[in-house]
Each structure stands twice: as C-alpha cells, then as structure tokens.
C-alpha cells in the first residue's frame, strides 16, 4: 500500500495555498498594477527553477474528524531557484494576505531565508511588499502584553551584507522592517508609482500633524534621490531584469570570484571621437556616460544609483570579459564637486566592490569638495573623510584615469597612494591642491596688494602660472605615470583587467573604523 492519499493531500494543500488571499484580494492587488508574489517569483527566476521551502506553512481548518477542510497560506513564500542557471535564494511577501504583515510562522521563515543564503553562500533577492514586522497593535490584546522590538533575524541580515549579494526590491507600500529590508541590501529598487517606502505610513504620520498621501510621503521620486534605494524603474518586469543583470557581475558569495563573461569586444578597439570628448573650453561640460560606455565592453555598463550622489556615476561593467566596478565623475553636477550625498554613494559602491572582489576603474574629473556656507552646514568634510577611509581600506586592484580636473582633498582620494595602481591622464588633465583662481589671491597676497595696479599684477601672475599647468610638465617630473591618447584607453583598461584578475582574492572583508 502506497502513500498516495498523503501525496494527494500534499497537492491539495498546495493548490489551496496557490489561491493566495482569495480571488477578491488578488484582483484588487492586480488592479493596482502589481503582480502577485508567485507571479513575481516566476517572472524573476529561470522558468521552472523555483523549489519552495516551507510550502506547507499556513493556517488550516479541520472538521470534527480531523479532515482538512480549508487552508490559507502563510503570507511569505521563499525558496531556492536559479537565475541565468546560477542558484539563488528568493523570498517574497504576499500582500493579499493581511497586507503582507507577517504572521507568526513567517518570522522563522524570514530568518530561514536569510540563514539559507548565508550558509549555502548564495545571493538573496527580497521581494518586499508589506511592513514585514507583524507589528499590529492588535497583538497587544491577543497576547495580553506588549513586545520589545528585537528583529532577531537582523544579525543574519547584517552578516549577509558581508557574505552574499543581496537585492532588495520594494514592490508595494513598504514600511518599518519591510523598508529596512529593502535598504539593507547591496542593490535596491522601487517601482515608480506602485511602490512607496517609509519609516511609517500616512496614518502614523498624521498623528505627528502631517496629512500626506503615501506617494507624496515615500514615492520613488524621494528615495531614488536620497539614496535610501539605488534606483527607480518603470515596471516590476524592469526591476526583475535589472536584478538578474546585477547578479551576473557578482560571485555567488565572497568566497568565490566574479565570473568572467563572454569576450565579445576587441580589446584594441579605438574610437576616434574620444580625442575630442573633453571640451577644450574649461567652463564647458561633457557627458561622461557615453565615454564610459565606449571604453568598457559593448553594452556591458550597468549604472547604479543614477539619481543620487550625482557628482559621480557608478556602475558595474565588463572589460575584456572581466567584471569591474566603475566610478566616473559627472561634471553636469556642480562641475563634479563632491557633496555629502556623492561621498555616501561612493562609500556604498566601493564597499560593495571590495566585498565582492571587483577591480575598480576610476575616471577622475574632481574639482574638489563643494565649497560655501551650505556645503559647510551639510557637514561635507565628515562624509568626505569617510570616503577617503574607504579608499584606504580597499585592497582591490585599481586603475585611475584622470580625464580633466583633480583638485584638493577630494581628488587626492582618487586611489590608495600606498600601493601600486595603474594611473594615467588624458591630455585634457590639470591638477593642483587649490584652483589657481582664489589660490593665487591667497598665495600672492602681499605681492598683489603692494603693486601700483593690483589687478594688472594679479593677471600677470596668473598668466605666469597658467604657462606651467600643462600636464606634460608634471609628467616630466613623473607626477603622473603617463599621459595617453584617449583613444588608447580601452587597450590600457583591458590590460588592467587581465592583470587584475589573478590578484583578486576570495574571502571576507572586515572594514576598520572610519572617521
């Protein structure tokens, strides 16, 4: 006699679980422009690869004979799956059941999903759609007492940041612990219009006197610009596609190395327009993204965090097939001067590169930290020195290309100066501790003041100094390794990527204290 009756019941239970919160709740959810949690998993992972863990968790109803009459699934599903044929862990909230606020069994499922990622050393993708804390005040009456917030699984969340790639997607209104689980990741996204993120939602906010809608309070236009999430996307499908692409550059865990992709582009490719990419007029800006896209392998640049920390562009790419981390100054944002948000983005990105052994390519056009009263009030230097510390705590291979300006403390952090890194400049480069304008007035103060015509004297000194600013003169003194034809940059980068590959070392990074 076989166990067929039990196997039949297994199937029946799973069929009941597949109803999620029931047709009405599912319809309302989908009418709001969202996918259900199971549709999300199917859309995210390789077809047929999802192996659910905890598929039988939920709330059953039995008749007087102990026969199952109904079953409502737990509102979090999780398990193992594959993305581009590589194993991952995926975990998602079901908003159609109790608005995604986790039920009791979920707390252990949540911890298990994180533990599974850590111990199997696999990337984790969180599909967050709810508060995730189960923190309804109704529980006070149910339990007869109040609970101290603990978030016991947070140890795993923190350890996973040090161990495996973590993607956090906000796919609905996420608050409290749900919001925290999105932000506590290496790459996070929100969907424009259908996802919001907040510390607490409008009903709680109303109690402190702000009457505000959920989109106005926590839409992606806010959090993709302050760095709580990295990017906003137009659809859930785009979020899943980007999550898959993000993972393609990374190892499964810090105990492996980033996998080399296909070699699809000529390492000796020279693009003529690069010789005029940087304008000769010093006040004129240029677009850095096409330059980066041209120098890395064709179609391989994956920008992260486009709308925040805008004085730098950051993203992953492949060079001669090897995954690398790209940092590039963007002069469109205050001439590439660094503000607090830029330093924060730099630290977040560089820490990820260091954690997952990605060599860094840094394109430098840094006029310095932002100056002026607002910059001082914002505490720019605090965040700036933290960025410098991150550079000096990094050990990944590094290549610096100075494309234009390199001034002040901010530019001094363009690489770790205590170890050998490849460093070259384009002919458009110029540099100094201080810009000549302003620096000159300070350094030649008495000379200018005592001249019969101070303005003429100032202009004369400036002309004298300007004659000495060619980077060729610096190269004579070996201030810079070399000045190269911009069209030869790709060849150099490919050599760098080849040299860097065997230097990458698997293992865990422990960062020291930062100022």
């Amino acid at each position: 006699m076989s166990w067929q009756p039990e196997v039949d019941e297994l199937h029946r239970r799973k069929a009941l679980a597949a109803r999620l919160g029931g047709p009405e709740k599912v319809k309302r959810h989908k009418d709001a422009g969202k996918l259900t949690v199971r549709e999300r998993v199917d859309a995210l992972v390789d077809a047929g690869s999802f192996r659910e863990v905890g598929s039988l968790t939920g709330f059953a109803e039995y008749d007087e004979n102990g026969v199952l009459v109904d079953f409502m699934a737990s509102n979090m599903i999780m398990g193992r799956a594959k993305v581009e044929d590589r194993p991952v862990i995926v975990v998602g909230d079901d908003f159609t059941i109790r608005g995604g606020a986790n039920d009791a069994s979920v707390s252990e499922k949540l911890a298990t999903s994180e533990r599974m990622a850590r111990d199997l050393r696999l990337p984790l993708i969180r599909l967050v759609d709810g508060t995730g804390g189960g923190g309804s005040v109704k529980n006070i009456e149910t339990k007869g007492h109040t609970l101290l917030p603990m978030m016991r699984e947070w140890q795993l969340v923190v350890e996973n940041m040090m161990t495996v790639p973590v993607v956090g997607l906000a796919l609905g209104s996420v608050a409290g612990k749900g919001a925290a689980r999105v932000a506590a990741s290496h790459y996070s996204m929100m969907v424009k219009g259908t996802s919001q993120l907040f510390n607490a939602g409008p009903p709680v906010v109303a109690q402190v006197g702000q009457i505000i809608g959920k989109e106005e309070l926590g839409g992606s236009h806010i959090h993709a610009r302050n760095g709580v999430v990295d990017d906003e996307v137009d659809s859930e499908a785009e979020a899943f596609a980007r999550a898959r692409q993000f993972l393609s550059y990374l190892p499964a865990s810090v105990f492996e190395l980033p996998p080399r992709g296909p070699i699809i582009d000529d390492p000796e490719r020279r693009d003529d327009w690069l010789i005029s990419a940087i304008p000769r007029q010093a006040r004129q800006v240029y677009k850095i993204r096409p330059i980066v896209q041209c120098l890395v392998d064709r179609d391989s640049f994956f920008e992260m965090g486009r709308h925040w920390g805008r004085a730098i562009v950051t993203g992953l790419a492949r060079i001669n097939g090897w995954p690398v981390a790209i940092v590039a100054s963007d002069p469109y944002h205050y001439g590439g001067t660094w503000d607090k948000s830029t330093s924060e983005k730099f630290v977040r990105f560089l820490d990820m590169a260091q954690t997952f052994h990605l060599p860094v390519v840094n394109f430098i056009d840094v006029a310095g930290f932002q100056v002026g009263l607002a910059a001082e009030q914002a505490g720019t230097m605090r965040y700036g020195v933290r960025a410098l510390a991150a550079v000096y705590q990094s050990t990944v291979p590094w290549c610096s290309i100075i494309v234009r300006k390199a001034y002040g403390v901010a530019a001094a952090g363009h690489q770790h100066q205590g170890r050998y890194n490849i460093r070259v400049a384009w002919p458009s480069a110029n540099w100094g501790s201080l810009p000549i304008e302003g620096g000159l007035e300070a350094a030649y103060k008495s000379d200018i003041a005592s001249a019969p015509d101070p303005e003429a004297r100032r202009a004369e000194i400036e002309a004298r100094l300007r004659k000495l600013t060619s980077p060729m003169r610096s190269a004579e003194a070996f201030v810079i390794d070399d000045i190269i034809d911009p069209r030869d940059t790709r060849s150099l980068l490919c050599e760098f990527a080849d040299l860097a590959a065997p230097l990458r070392e698997p293992g865990m990074t422990n960062f020291g204290i930062r100022p």
Partner: protein
Amino acid sequence: MQQSMLLPTAIDNEKNTMIKIESPVSGRVVAILAQVGDTLNPGDAVLTVESMKMEIPVEAERSGTLSDISVQVDDEVTEGQHIATQS
C-alpha cells in the same frame, strides 16, 4: 516569462501631459537655448546655468513640445526649481 506578467505594471504616461523640467543645480541662468514651441527630444538643452564656474546645460528628459520657460537670463535658480514645461 509570460507576456501577461509584463503588462499590469506599465506606467500610464498619458496622464502626465505636463512635463516639468527642473534645474539639476543651483546657479545663474546665462543663456536660453530653446524657444517655446520647439520640439525637444531627451538630451536637448533648454538653457544654460552657470554653477561652480561651469556652464551646465539643463536638458529635456523626455520628448515633447516646449510650452513654457519660466526664467530669464541672469535669474538665480535653485536645485530642483521648475524652470520650463513640456507638453
């Protein structure tokens, strides 16, 4: 991936017939480069703002006809300020 799964999240762009163009930086307007009535494509510059000694073009992010420019040369603008409109 089933096609039906891609559909529900498409954003309704038709709703937003007014497209705001905001200044990405604080600074002073030094040149107006487009005229009301011009058709602008993503990346086309509307005006130039001088900031940190650099001339920074303010560009359209989407396609549309320029229906309004609400600043003039020499105006001081702040980061995020609505300076032009497309429809």
